[in-house]
């Protein structure tokens, strides 16, 4: 590692599916060389790292072999290493080599930590979408105040947000009519083979599908399997019925059913389905009942819905029946796919699977009962649509625009300059509680006795108040710009305003980084704080610049009451207060650290 060279035994794969050529990989900081064990193959590689764009690797414990994937312009080189320990060694070297080359070219600053290309594009996309962020990025990263990774470390949320946007959908079952296992007929008439290996059969998923899609089979399995027949018989019967069903040979099916009553069970799905459908229909709001009936289309069942036209021809009826069953199958399939529950265990005995399913169903039925009760309650209350919302939607607690806060603070600062009043003068009360309460009650009884004064106050006072109020309103107007809604920042010329806001955002970011790097524990952090401190102290001079440039501009605006310099100063104060605190802390910390170091050396040496 220290010599800058790593030699490992690897298999080289040109593609992922390639079985791989065994050989030796030699990695140095500049290039990597692959020599196959078999000198006759022409899979030799000798590539310099500057052609490599990025690298990926498989994770330990992900079940995949240790692969190192080096991406270049046309594709990628994949090396399968012997162990993950080897992989880590290689990865480290590749990381160093790549970062060296990339930094040498001075294109994008890539940090110690290597990025996947997906993350890189995500960052670029975020920057493109948000111009403010881009400006900040340019200001801080391009000038070397922060490294790329430091910058993004505080923006984790943005990155995650984008990530989470992608992976929200739950994965359902594979969407094919799974129970349609196709029979393989060998040409003879009564011999039909279903290709059903025990692996498939025992796969919980498969069973789950059959049981979920065909409640009758589920029921039958629970009833019959250990007691009446064994499993193999059961499945034989099931697929026989399935086959008969699929040939649509109704007569033959009927005959078989008459012969074998167990078989008949499979052909009578409808009963259970009907019960279920009824249950569902009951769940629907009473006002929607009819539509639910039509949509579910179980109207052909006796005692359910209305036959609109009784005089249909038989052939048509049969066709309709077929259509209906297909629709039902599709609906049922859809419902099962949407429910999408998978069992936790993969290989289970079918009996347990069936039981678990039955239990689960019961549970959901209980929930249904609950819902029904709720339904009844809602029926008793007036129809919801016609009522006003009874839950008061609350306004969100909001942190206001920081600008707003400045305005109010600014006015405060100006006011204290004007007033220069002592802040808190404690009022003293010489009276005891008895006298105080007594005088208050006397005042009340005085009004009770004499009534209100008539007139309430003199016209002089009224006039004074009126003048006072109008003056107050017009003065606040002058104070705070053209309209009373306008903020102090808007008085400033646009460029100054922009600059100030930019600086504000920038220094916020710097300060956040500064404080987050405390306590300083590693050399890395020491460097970072030093760098941050320097850039913070630069802001002072920049603010000064703005002050100078802005004041000359603003001097022309004589109409303004408040001296523009003062405003800038006030803004400056907000910046500098925070910045001062940071710098003070830095100095104190350095002193402390130095003291500690010297003490240690005294104590131990």
């Amino acid at each position: 590692m220290s010599s800058g060279q790593v030699v490992k035994r690897v298999k080289y794969k040109a593609t992922v599916k390639d079985p791989g050529t065994p050989g030796v990989l030699r990695l140095t900081q500049e290039k990597f060389v692959f020599k196959p064990n078999d000198p006759t193959t022409n899979n030799k590689l000798d590539v310099e790292f500057r052609f490599i764009k990025s690298h990926k690797h498989t994770k330990e414990g992900s079940g995949k072999p240790p692969w190192l994937n080096l991406t270049h312009a046309q594709g990628s080189y994949i090396f399968e290493l012997e162990s993950f320990a080897d992989l880590h060694v290689c990865r480290e070297l590749v990381g160093i080599a790549l970062s060296k080359h990339v930094q040498g070219e001075a294109t994008k600053v890539i940090s110690e930590e290597q990025l996947s290309s997906a993350e890189m594009t995500l960052r670029i996309k975020l920057l493109q979408e948000d111009s403010k962020l881009q400006r900040l990025h340019k200001e801080l990263v391009a000038s070397g105040k922060l490294t790329e990774s430091e910058f993004w470390a505080t923006k984790k949320k943005l990155l995650d947000q984008d990530e989470s946007r992608k992976l929200k959908q739950r994965i359902g079952f594979k969407n094919s009519l799974i129970f349609d296992t196709k029979p393989m007929s060998d040409g003879r008439i009564n011999q039909v083979k279903f290709q059903l290996t025990p692996e498939i059969k025992y796969q919980a998923c498969f069973l789950l599908c059959i049981f979920a899609l065909k409640p009758a089979v589920h029921q039958a399995f629970l009833n019959f399997v250990p007691s009446k027949m064994n499993e193999v018989d059961f499945w034989n019967k099931y697929f026989k019925a399935e086959y008969l069903h699929s040939t649509k040979n109704a007569v033959a099916a009927a005959a078989e059913a008459a012969e074998d009553e167990d078989l008949a069970v499979f052909l009578k799905d409808d009963e259970i389905l009907e019960i279920e459908a009824r249950k569902k229909v009951r769940r629907v709001d009473p006002t929607l009942d009819m539509e639910a009936d039509q949509g579910d289309d179980y109207t052909h069942l006796p005692d359910h819905g209305i036959f609109r036209d009784g005089s249909k021809e038989v052939s048509e009826a049969q066709n309709a029946l077929y259509k209906r069953t297909l629709l039902q199958d599709l609906n049922r399939q859809g419902a099962v796919v949407l429910e999408g529950k998978t069992l936790d265990m993969e290989m289970e005995h079918p009996r347990t699977v069936a039981e678990i399913l039955a239990r689960r169903k019961q549970k959901s039925d209980e929930v249904v009962g609950d819902e029904e009760r709720q339904n009844r309650i809602s029926k008793m209350t007036p129809i919801e649509d016609l009522q006003a919302q009874d839950d008061h939607n609350y306004a969100p607690l909001c942190i206001k625009d920081p600008r707003d806060y400045f305005d109010f603070q600014q006015a405060n600062a100006v006011k204290t300059l004007d007033d220069s009043q002592p802040g808190t003068e404690q009022m003293t009360c010489s009276l005891g509680s008895e006298e105080a309460y007594g005088s208050l009650m006397a005042a009340i009884s005085k009004i009770q006795a004499t009534g209100l004064r008539d007139p309430l106050f003199s016209p002089d006072v009224a006039l004074k108040v009126l003048h006072g109020l109008t003056r107050n309103i017009s003065s606040t107007k002058n104070h705070l710009g053209k309209t009373s809604q306008e903020s102090v920042l808007d008085i400033l010329p646009n460029t100054t305003k922009e600059k100030l806001l930019d600086h504000w955002v920038c220094s916020q970011e710097l300060l956040r980084h500064f404080w987050s790097s405390y306590p300083v524990t590693t050399q890395n952090l020491v460097n970072k704080t030093r760098r941050l401190k320097d850039s913070i102290s630069q802001i002072y001079s920049k603010l000064e610049e703005i002050k100078v440039s802005a004041s000359s501009d603003l001097r022309h605006q004589v109409s303004l009451v408040v001296h523009p310099m003062q405003q800038i100063k006030v803004y400056g104060q907000f910046f500098t207060q925070a910045l001062d605190a940071a710098l003070l802390h830095y100095d104190a910390d350095i002193k402390k650290r130095n003291a500690r170091v010297s003490k240690k050396s005294n104590g131990y040496v």
Binding site: A388, C429, K446, L456
Partner: protein, 292 residues
């Protein structure tokens, strides 16, 4: 400051909850007599009721030991017969206020003589919000609520947390808190309350014309307010009180977990129990080190 227009109100019907400062110690030292103040306020309440038949006025007395509802224009008893010279509103309110004061006096704990105890503004704000919540649940079209604080006593920093909580819940249910402060300095609590909830803070400079200020600034319903130019607060005192000594502070220590505010460094947050690292105070840290 837009407040979320999410609820459906009867837009020109107001539910005005007035909190009335009845701190006897304050009024005993204040140059403006209480009788004068009360008669101006009574006239104002009467004019609110006159502005609209459906308007509703609730008065809550803010004492220094307790708070109580002293008047509710919607209750049956308030519509009693006028007694001689006065309308029912006045006589009822005055009667209740007298009773309240008598009760408040009994609760009075002995305190340091010479100081004015603060009024229980947090309590009366909470009661006002409770009443408003009840009004929300009463019918499909509640009158549009607002709170008006008539306050004279200086802020009691010990109530900081309770008042801020009341303010935030008012903001959350979009109830503006207007405040008319008649004391000598500005009230930071009320300034913040009005700022956060989008109400009006006003400190009338001339108290003998109080009625006129009240009727010009605070009488209009919230719907009409959008069309008026009302006095804008020039500044808000955003200072907070520390949780440990209830002092009003400019700069302090903030718990990074629960945002509690302290005026001095603690080893442990008294609110949420988080243990703070020893980043500060080199001297004491060094001392501890040496001992160990």
């Amino acid at each position: 400051m837009p407040s979320a227009p999410s609820k459906i109100y009867a837009d020109d019907v107001s539910l005005l909850v007035v909190t009335l400062d009845t701190n006897p110690f304050f009024w005993a030292t204040f140059p403006f007599p209480f009788a004068e103040f009360l008669s101006q306020v009574l006239a104002f309440l009467n004019s609110i009721l006159l502005l609209g038949q459906l308007n509703q006025v609730i008065v809550i007395a803010t004492g220094c030991n307790s708070c109580a509802y002293v008047y509710d224009s919607s209750s049956e008893r308030s519509h009693g017969a006028t007694t001689g010279t006065m309308p029912a509103l006045y006589s009822n309110l005055l009667h209740n206020l007298n009773e309240f004061l008598a009760k408040d006096r009994q609760l009075d704990a002995s305190q340091k003589p010479g100081t004015v105890p603060s009024s229980l503004l947090s309590g009366s704000l909470s009661m006002a919000l409770c009443y408003i919540q009840r009004a929300f649940r009463l019918g499909p079209m509640p009158p549009q609520p607002r709170i008006l604080c008539l306050q004279g006593t200086a802020d009691g920093p010990e109530q900081y947390v309770a008042i801020m909580n009341a303010i935030f819940s008012a903001q959350r249910s979009t109830v503006p808190i207007d405040s008319c402060y008649i004391g000598s300095n500005n009230s930071a609590f009320l300034q913040q309350a009005s700022y956060i909830t989008g109400g009006i803070y006003y400190k009338p400079p001339q108290l003998d014309g109080l009625y006129q200020y009240l009727s010009t600034v605070f009488a209009t319903d919230l719907h009409s307010r959008a069309f008026l130019r009302l006095p804008k607060s020039v500044g808000v005192d955003f200072r907070a009180s520390c949780f440990c000594h209830k002092r009003t502070i400019d700069m302090g220590f903030v718990c990074s977990v629960c945002l509690s505010i302290f005026c001095e460094h603690h080893d442990k947050c008294s609110t949420c129990g988080s243990v703070f690292g020893q980043a500060q105070l080199d001297a004491s840290a060094a001392n501890r080190k040496r001992k160990a």
